[in-house]
């Protein structure tokens, strides 16, 4: 099959450490954390031990028409805003966007939990008094693929729709599957990403599994602490990331700005336990991605590790990286700045990696004060480095044993 090159021609992210590229870069280079006290939701917050959250607490101005707003929960506001900005930055014409040659790969962990709560409040109310108030709009706001189809509606996109919902690998799959869709000629461009809104349900679940950080409730900026001896679990966060992927010749012909090239992707499953991290599974994913890109481990300059700061997850990931890469590439756990933005983390971490690639620096892992000896077999980034970044790997792993690795190359014209 004829394989085509796939480049990234635009990106936008809403993250706990900023919205614009300038704000995000500022946070990464100054070591600013986006982790804040967990907001009260009037339901679960006071029962949760972990009182920290990767928070989007700056004002965002949304300017959506009623015909769009009516089917959008908070998660779709994030998704559509980043999609709108990415499409605008790409310079793609409206004619192309609506031509059927552009598809959408976008997802979230489980749609809009805010809207789902509204629905269930009605279902569990006495006498089902409000049942008839629940209609199509509520479902369209809450459903798992709500982000993807609200994007198609807002921009009149008629190409294929992929809406993965695999927790922490949701948006890395979006990018990976979007990449393959273009690579193998099914679409000429794909709008890819993921989003997740503020939600205490996810915090409560991880809290019950003893996987959430609880030791730093009074000093939220000191957690999460990937690979650090004092790490005590993950911090849930919110956000969104959108990227425009485009077939290289198509982008070149229209003189599009090119942020980077996707040269490889792999996704596999551990084939067993749905929760425990699995070194063999992760190692295999990394190797599959390297094979896909036809590069050697020594060619990778930087790894954006999944690095949730759980006790065992970081150890297993470090062991897997150590086995494949040794101490060659620099490693950073970007979640140390903003927590685990769940379904959006793959897209956000890819975008942050692109920003670093373009600016020529590598951010250190925040809160990494004392490297856990069990995680010491890789080259951790402990201080800001000015360094050319040619090829980067973005690793993400999810509940259910799903693993993904994306390989991104700094764009240089052939």
């Amino acid at each position: 099959m004829n394989e085509r090159r796939v480049v990234i021609t635009a990106a936008s992210a809403i993250t706990p450490i900023g919205h614009t590229r300038e704000a995000i870069t500022h946070s990464l280079t100054r070591g600013i954390s986006g982790v804040k006290p967990l907001r009260d939701d009037g339901l679960l917050t006071r029962h949760i031990h972990s009182q920290v959250f990767g928070t989007v607490d700056y004002p965002l101005e949304f300017d959506f028409k009623r015909s769009n707003r009516k089917t959008m929960g908070p998660v779709s506001y994030y998704a559509c805003q980043t999609a709108r900005e990415a499409l605008a930055r790409s310079g793609l014409s409206e004619e192309f966007i609506t031509s059927g040659r552009l598809g959408v790969a976008f997802g979230s962990t489980h749609g809009s939990p805010t809207e789902q709560r509204n629905i269930y409040k009605t279902f569990f109310a006495e006498n089902l008094a409000g049942l008839r108030e629940i209609g199509a709009v509520n479902y369209l706001k809450s459903m798992v693929h709500t982000t993807a189809v609200n994007i198609t509606k807002m921009f009149g996109i008629t190409g294929r729709v992929i809406s993965s919902s695999t927790a922490c690998t949701t948006s890395s799959q979006s990018i990976g599957f979007g990449y393959e869709t273009i690579r193998f000629g099914r679409q000429d461009a794909m709008l890819c990403g993921g989003a997740d809104e503020y939600d205490t349900t996810t915090v409560a679940v991880f809290d019950n599994l003893l996987a959430c950080s609880t030791d730093f409730n009074e000093t939220p900026q000191h957690t999460p602490r990937p690979f650090d001896t004092r790490r005590d679990g993950l911090v849930v966060g919110e956000g969104a990331g959108a990227l425009v992927l485009e077939e290289y010749q198509h982008a070149k012909k229209r003189n599009a700005p090119i942020l980077g090239e996707i040269i490889g992707f792999a996704c596999n499953n551990n084939g067993g336990d749905l929760i425990l991290p699995n070194k063999d599974g992760i190692t295999q994913t990394i190797r599959l991605a390297l094979d896909d890109a036809r590069i050697t481990p020594q060619q990778v300059d930087f790894v954006s590790a999944h690095a949730t700061a759980t006790k065992m997850g970081d150890v297993i990931e470090a062991q897997a990286m150590g086995e494949v890469y040794g101490r060659a590439p620099r490693v950073c756990g970007l979640k140390s700045y903003m927590g685990h933005t769940m379904g959006s983390c793959g897209a956000i971490e890819t975008i942050l990696t692109l920003y670093m690639m373009q600016a020529g620096f590598i951010a250190p892992t925040r809160n990494l004060e004392e490297i856990d000896p069990r995680c010491a077999m890789v080259r951790h980034t402990v201080e800001l480095k000015e360094a050319p970044l040619g090829i980067a790997a973005v690793q993400n792993f999810a509940f259910g044993g799903v693993n993904t690795v994306l390989l991104i190359k700094k764009f240089d014209s052939p």
Binding site: T71, F123, L131, R132, I134, V137, Y139
Partner: protein, 98 residues
């Protein structure tokens, strides 16, 4: 309920619920105001509240081809004139989607 009162009530619903301010009686609501099938379902619920009773399935189906405010006024006027029966005992089973 007079025809004028129905029109006033519907215009209020269009403004408050659908943010549609200026609507002529013969405007095609879909073409001119992006009023789609989802809005139509919402409007039927508003009409039920306005009339103080639940609409029957045949009554709802009769609304499916309506395209203008003028026709909606006719529709509500006919329903009001036919007199509202008591609310259905069993609400339509719907979890908010297909």
């Amino acid at each position: 309920m007079t025809r004028d009162a129905i029109e006033t009530a519907l215009r209020t619903i269009f403004l408050e619920r659908f943010e549609i301010e200026e609507v002529a009686l013969d405007d095609d609501l879909r073409d001119k105001h992006e009023f789609d099938s989802i809005d139509a379902i919402e409007l039927l619920r508003e009409i039920e509240i306005l009339l103080g009773r639940e609409l029957t399935r045949p009554e709802k189906k009769a609304a499916m081809d309506i395209r203008t405010l003028g026709h909606i006024i006719d529709y509500v006027n006919d329903l009001a004139a036919s007199g509202g029966g008591p609310p259905e005992k069993t609400p339509k089973k719907s979890a908010g989607g297909p």
